[in-house]
Amino acid sequence: MDPFSVEGELLNIHSAFHSGSYQNVIDFDTTTLSPENQLPAQVLQLRAQIALGQYDESLQASDDIPDLSAVKALALHSAGKSDAALQLAQELAENYPENSTVQVLAGTVLQAQGHSEEALALLSKHQNSLEAVSLTVQIQLQQNRTDLAIKEVQAAKRWAQDSLLINVAESWVGMRVGGEKYQSAFYVYEELASAPGTSAPLSIVGQAVAEIHLGRLPELIANSIVLNVLAGKNTEELESQLQQVDPSHALLVDIQEKSEFFDTAAAKFSAKVAS
């Protein structure tokens, strides 16, 4: 039986992880789990720690168990040691391509460092791993291949319709497709946000993003910058706030880039007569 399935004992920790309640994952009592579920639970907890920026435990993980080395690779990457992470991830991808944890985590590292094709190749070997599917979908979306992502989700829905991950992945795709799909995506996030097991920041953010796309304009942090611009408010404060929280957030990087681009582009034009 799939331990993450609806009936499995890992359901709650799994849902918590994927809805972004990382602290709940770390606090999860794993002692009552059956032995075969101990390792996946540990992996989830380590990943939650990485997500919260606590790398130490993961970096010390044993190299003997491929699952844990995969976690280590992710930790290395997140800690900024990109080269070591990439090397480890590539090694793991070569040696344990069948291990689902390796697929997902090494895939994440590969994608994060721009090796999308390698990541997709590794992920394509998965055996009904929902995480692999959702990661694949994300990579495809990042490559702007919405068509492939739709196919991937459709295929996965045939065997795992009820899964949180697939629902969320479907809503990612929906946010690209637009139209009525915005509304469906919104419903998915709304449902997640209001259900007690999955109510977490990620669900709420997702809900807010969907609302923006639907042309409704509520408020939320990274998105409220966008939102505040749309609503005609000042965003400097929020931007500096974001700068503190996450200086490398894609939005900031992007704006900086564009600001420079503007200056170079604008320099090409000038008035014939200086005024």
Binding site: F17, D162, V209, F261, K272
Partner: protein, 1212 residues
């Protein structure tokens, strides 16, 4: 046979055998005549016995209410017919005549007649007004068991144990007894001939038809209310249906099913049903058209004897061996569901309709559920799923079935649904976007199903579960007779349980945080985690509930709409004349479905509960608002406030001085108390005020109350303790004046005034004491004079040992000068709010006054709040930017081939508009476009706008942990999925510019903040330059705004320049005068131009340029507007007209047409060469060609340009 799920018992009584029943036509009353000789009057709604009437001997078999009068009639085995008044509770009279048991008695619907059927084989008609027998009908040759009037025609039907049913024509009787004078002889003859006289020659009532068909005695016969039909019930266990025409009557069909004597039968007043009861202990319902059994209800031991129908309401009563039961055949609660602003409900015709609360319109039918369940059973519940636009309907038919149906996109009519999924269950609710739960009591399990109706999960509900309800997303509420439990479907565990008995309905609040559990007589409010918040009890049945947006529960009972706050405070909002099922509250409207499943809107006054809610939430502003705007008074609200400990708020509502006084004391508001005490001026009031004031330490008030009460002793002591010597001595004077020696003595002691004491003792002849006092205070002379006066010498007196004389302590601090520090209870925040607001209003008024007094001076150009702000007509736009239709399409190369191209790239490809390119991040192409369209060359001022547009284009959706978020692109074409038509959203659309920015600009002009104004109008230009609009009309509007902004920037720049010029040299003065004249040229709003003109006029006048000043004054007068300005203009005009000459010659011809060069601020007279800016349209002298436009600072003056594009028709 199990009891039918549809027969709903509303009331049951316990008594001896019930033989006759009658419903009161208006009130919820039922008369029951018993075998034990008693007649009972019940209120079946409250379940109480109102009265008993016991004058008959032996069983009473028939009763009937009079349709309008407070009368009823009864007939029994004592052969008597009695007429009663139920108000006076007395038997009015008895009609004697029958010779055997009286079986039934009925009033005629309009005539003053009573119809009785008796075992003496006769049917009699009595006039109850003159208490006489007017007709006896003979013909039956056995007991007549029942006789009834036709509801509208002059017919009587009778049933007899002789196995026949007879129809009698009584038109003769009516003619004879109504207006006998109008009957001519011919009429009488005709009637005599037409009607066959019976064997006794009686033509008043003649047998019309004899219906034979029953094989045994017939117990009952009833007319159909509207159709020419009859139904009869007999000892042959059959119920027979008969039809009649003018000339004949015949048997239509037989309803077979009773397995014992059928006692009575009647037609359903509104539906095509027959109801019958029998000694086989059953009530049966039959389809009138098919004569098939629809449903039946069986009692265990009691045989049924009689059945009656309520004339108006869907209610029946049946009498049996041990009492009566009042019941309904079906639920009348229409199945409904609410989603946001829409109500979905099922009508009586089983059509699904929706109702829009926002528009208050009812949709046409969307679906017909005719085939759902059985035809006589209405659906029970409806659950709506907005994500899938699907409904789940349950019906109790066939032991409970549900159907899952997708609603059609548009309501086009009552179509039969096509794709229907169904199954067995008594309850079915949506629990998530793609899941619903069904409960099957037979298998005692809850199945979670997906939309293809396959079970994905099975849950064992707690034992005894009767119903399930939605419990918040992913959760279910299980209802058992004693508990409600909350269950998480995903985790498969019970989250909470609450002991509440008999819950029937669950109503969630709009925000999903609270939920009301309704049982028959209780409302329990719980949180979403099932923690009990409050509970309340109603003696009258609770029917429905709905939540106000503010979190107030409104619920309906049988006859009231009431409210309950979360804390359990409740009250009545309005009464109801008929039962309704509340679905929604919006402002002053309560939406409800009535029993015919019609949406209704009830007007309510929400003031009371809103006020209480505001009180609970301590929202004083709102309370203030309510107090001010509504007439919220009344004892109930005052006592409520008092009870809740808010006397200071209650104070705001009260006018009555006594109550105000009491409340003021309670909240320690001495000022008000004082005021009220003055008004009341009663000793008791003063004394209470005094006590309270003393407790506060407010001794000035205390003093006043003592004065009012003439309480001199206390007053003296008060002065003593506050150290007010002056007043104390006045008290002494008063005491002396009053001749009150005790008081005088007391005051003297207080004051330490020995002389006065001695004097007083002397006055009352207490010389020993006077002497002693004098002596002890060392006043020897005085002592001796006393001795002298009484003729004694010192040695004759024995004195006790003298000690130190008494010294009166004096207060160190003269507290009388002001009050002691007073208890700081003073004002509640509520009162502060009240006071604060008054203060603010005063200030405002003051400010207004100041404003009015201020002089009109040039620097304060704009302080005027110009009242005439209406749109200036006839905008002269000058040269408009031309729109050319050639598409300067910039093609953006697609990105790497491996991955797809991002949506931003698509935007740039999809649109020729610069704004879309900016949003796509393709700044270079956007700049190329702007360069071509309007000759834009200096982009730096546009940078904020570029980044603003760009920032608004994307959202970041967190996805897999460890990877950057997914970027999504925000579209303005929200409904578009075709990648070739997707376009980005552009912030600050035209509407925002027009309604926000432009107004800001005007405000800057009015308030004389010209630097700000220039910046604002520049921003407007930049915003419009990088923007999109959605129609040609909006393009025109955008152009207008561009022109307006240009004119304002020009005008403001000129005025700013003038202000920087020192007026020290003649050249500068001349230039200043010119600039102030040019300031009047740009086409501003009239009100603003008046300001410019006013400034120019004054400036010119001050510098003796009377000619210019005159022309400005004339222009001002021509413009009209604010009276004050015109007054000034008139004055100046009058002065200038005396000498219309300019002292300083300036370059300004008031009579010529000219533009102002935006760079040099000099006139460009018409006809002289000029260049204009391709974007703003500003005019320049030719030498400025090729430099950057001074208005928007973006474009090159005189650059070749195709014109700004903001709109592409094909995009919309």
């Amino acid at each position: 046979m199990q009891s039918s799920p549809n027969m709903l018992t509303k009331f049951e009584s316990k008594s001896s055998r019930a033989k006759g029943i009658a419903f009161h036509p208006k009130r919820p009353w039922i008369l029951v005549s018993l075998h034990s000789s008693t007649i009972q009057l019940w209120d079946y709604r409250m379940g109480t016995l109102i009265d008993r009437f016991e004058e008959h001997d032996g069983p009473v078999r028939g009763v009937d209410f009079h349709p309008t009068q407070p009368l009823f009639v009864s007939g029994g085995d004592d052969y008597k017919i009695k007429v009663w008044n139920y108000q006076t509770r007395r038997c009015l009279f008895t009609l004697n005549g029958h010779l055997d048991y009286v079986r039934t008695v009925f009033f005629h619907p309009e005539l003053p007649w009573i119809l009785s059927a008796s075992d003496d084989q006769t049917i009699r008609i009595w006039n109850w007004q003159n208490r006489s027998l007017i007709c006896t009908m003979t013909g039956h040759n056995h007991y007549v068991m029942c006789a009834q009037f036709h509801p509208t025609e002059d017919l009587i039907a009778s049933a007899s144990l002789d196995q026949s049913v007879r129809i009698w024509d009584i038109s003769g009787l009516r003619k004879k007894h109504s207006a006998p004078t109008s009957i001519s002889f011919e009429d009488q003859m005709a009637r005599a001939n037409q009607n066959q006289a019976d064997m006794f020659g009686n033509t008043d009532a003649v047998v019309k038809f004899v219906l034979e068909g029953h094989d045994r005695g017939v117990n009952w016969v009833s007319f159909h209310p509207t159709l020419p039909l009859l139904v009869s019930a007999g000892d042959d266990r059959l119920v027979k249906l008969w039809r009649m025409s003018d000339t004949k009557a015949w048997e239509v069909d037989t309803c077979r099913g009773h397995f014992q004597n059928a006692s009575a039968a009647l037609f359903h007043p509104h539906q095509d049903l027959i109801l019958s009861v029998g000694e086989d202990k059953t009530i049966r319902a039959w389809d009138l058209n098919k004569r098939t059994s629809v449903q039946s209800f069986k009692r265990d031991v009691d045989r049924f004897w009689v059945i009656a129908a309520h004339p108006e309401i869907n209610l029946f009563a049946a009498g049996h061996d041990t009492g009566v039961m009042v019941f309904k055949l079906e639920r009348e609660r229409p199945a409904s569901a609410i989603y946001q602003n829409q109500l979905f409900y099922i009508t009586k015709e089983k059509h699904v309709k929706s109702y829009d609360f926002a528009k208050n319109v009812e949709s046409p039918p969307m679906l017909s559920l005719r085939k759902l369940g059985s035809p006589w059973v209405p659906p029970r519940t409806l659950s709506y799923n907005p994500a899938e636009r699907a409904i789940l309907v349950t019906t109790p038919a066939d032991n409970g079935t549900y159907e899952l149906i997708h609603l059609p996109r548009d309501a086009t009519g009552a179509v039969e649904p096509t794709d229907v999924k169904r199954g067995q269950a008594t309850s079915a609710v949506f629990v998530a976007r793609n899941r619903f739960a069904v409960f099957n009591p037979a298998s005692k399990q809850v199945d979670i199903k997906d939309l293809s109706n396959s079970t994905t999960k099975t849950i064992k509900p707690p034992a005894g579960t009767t119903d399930i309800y939605f419990g918040g997303t992913g959760c279910l509420l299980f209802i058992t007779p004693t508990h409600v439990s909350l269950f998480d479907i995903q985790q498969k565990k019970q989250l909470a349980e609450l002991a509440v008995s008999g819950v029937k309905y669950v109503v969630w609040s709009n925000d999903g945080l609270y939920c009301a559990l309704l049982s028959k007589h209780n409302v329990t409010i719980v949180t979403k985690a099932l923690d009990q918040v409050s509970t309340l009890h109603e003696t009258i049945r609770i029917k429905s509930a709905t939540w106000d947006d503010a979190g107030v529960l409104l619920y309906s009972t049988l006859n009231h709409v009431k409210y309950s706050l979360l804390n359990g405070d409740n009250g009545i909002i309005r009464t109801l004349d008929q039962t309704v099922y509340l679905v929604r509250v919006k402002g002053r409207s309560v939406y409800a479905l009535d029993r015919n499943a019609q949406p209704r809107i009830l007007e309510i006054d929400p003031t009371e509960y809103r006020f209480k809610l505001a009180l609970v939430k301590r929202n004083y502003d709102e309370m203030l608002q309510i107090i001010k705007t509504s007439s919220l008074v009344g004892q109930s609200i005052i006592s409520y406030l008092q009870k809740k400990g808010y006397p200071e708020i209650a104070l705001q509502f009260v006018q009555d001085p006594q109550t105000r006084f009491d409340l003021a004391l309670e909240c320690g508001n001495l000022e008000v108390a004082n005021e009220m005490a003055r008004e009341l001026d009663r000793p008791k009031t003063w004394s209470r005020l005094g006590t309270e004031a003393l407790a506060h330490g407010n001794h000035q008030t205390v003093e006043m109350t003592y004065q009012k009460q003439r309480n001199f002793d206390k007053l003296s002591f008060l002065y003593l303790s506050t150290g007010d010597q002056e007043k104390l001595s006045r008290m002494a004077k008063i005491a002396e004046h009053r001749g009150d020696f005790t008081s005088r003595f007391q005051n003297a002691i207080y004051r330490g005034d020995v002389e006065d004491r001695i004097q007083m003792f002397k006055e009352v002849d207490l010389y020993p004491l006077a002497y002693l006092t004098a002596k002890s205070h060392g006043m020897t002379e005085e002592a001796e004079s006393i001795l002298e006066a009484v003729g004694l010498t010192e040695d004759q007196i024995t004195l006790p040992t003298l000690q130190q004389p008494l010294k009166v302590p004096h207060p160190i601090v003269p507290t009388f000068k002001s009050n002691w520090p007073v208890k700081a209870a003073g004002h509640s925040s509520f009162e502060k709010a009240l006071l604060g607001e008054v203060g603010a209003a005063d200030e405002e008024a003051g400010a207004d006054l100041l404003d009015a007094e201020e002089d009109v001076q040039e620097a304060t150009l704009a302080r005027e709040t110009l009242d005439d702000e209406e749109e200036v007509t006839g905008w002269d736009m000058g040269d408009d930017v031309e729109v050319e239709e050639d598409v300067d399409f910039v093609n953006v190369e697609s990105a790497e081939a491996g991955a797809g191209s991002s949506e931003a790239d698509l935007w740039a490809r999809n649109s020729p508009l610069a704004a879309d390119h900016v949003a796509a991040g393709s700044f270079d192409t956007a700049m190329q476009l702007l360069n071509r369209q309007v000759g834009a060359v200096q982009f730096a001022p546009l940078k904020p706008r570029f980044l603003e547009v760009y920032k608004a284009s994307k959202t970041y959706l967190p996805a897999t942990a460890g990877l950057p978020p997914l970027v999504n692109y925000v579209r303005r074409t929200v409904d578009e999925t075709d990648s070739r038509k997707m376009l980005p959203i552009i912030p600050r659309d035209l509407e925002t510019v027009a309604s926000v920015d432009l107004q800001e600009g005007y405000a800057a002009m009015r308030s004389n903040r010209l630097e700000d104004g220039v910046a604002i109008f520049k921003r407007i230009l930049h915003t419009l330059l990088v923007n999109t609009v959605s129609s040609e009309a909006e393009v025109e509007e955008a152009k207008k705004i561009i022109a307006t902004a240009r004119e304002y920037i020009l005008a403001m720049s000129i005025e700013l320049e003038r202000r920087t010029l020192p007026a020290d040299t003649p050249e500068n003065l001349k230039r200043s005068l010119e600039l102030s004249a040019y300031f009047t040229i740009p086409k501003l709003e009239v009100a603003h131009r008046q300001l410019a003109l006013m400034a120019a006029m004054k400036f010119a006048f001050a510098n003796k340029n009377y000619g210019s000043a005159l022309s400005f004054a004339n222009r001002m007068l021509a413009n009209g507007g604010s009276a004050k300005l015109l007054e000034q203009a008139k004055k100046i005009k009058a002065q200038c007209e005396r000498n219309p000459q300019d002292q300083i010659d300036i370059d300004f011809d008031p009579f010529a047409e000219f533009d102002i060069c935006a760079a040099s601020w000099t006139p460009i007279y018409s006809g002289s060469p000029s260049v204009s800016d391709p974007f703003t349209g500003a005019k320049y002298h030719p030498q400025y060609k090729g430099s950057v436009d001074r208005i928007a600072e973006v474009t090159e003056i005189g650059a070749p340009a195709s014109g700004l594009r903001l709109f592409v028709p094909s995009q919309f």
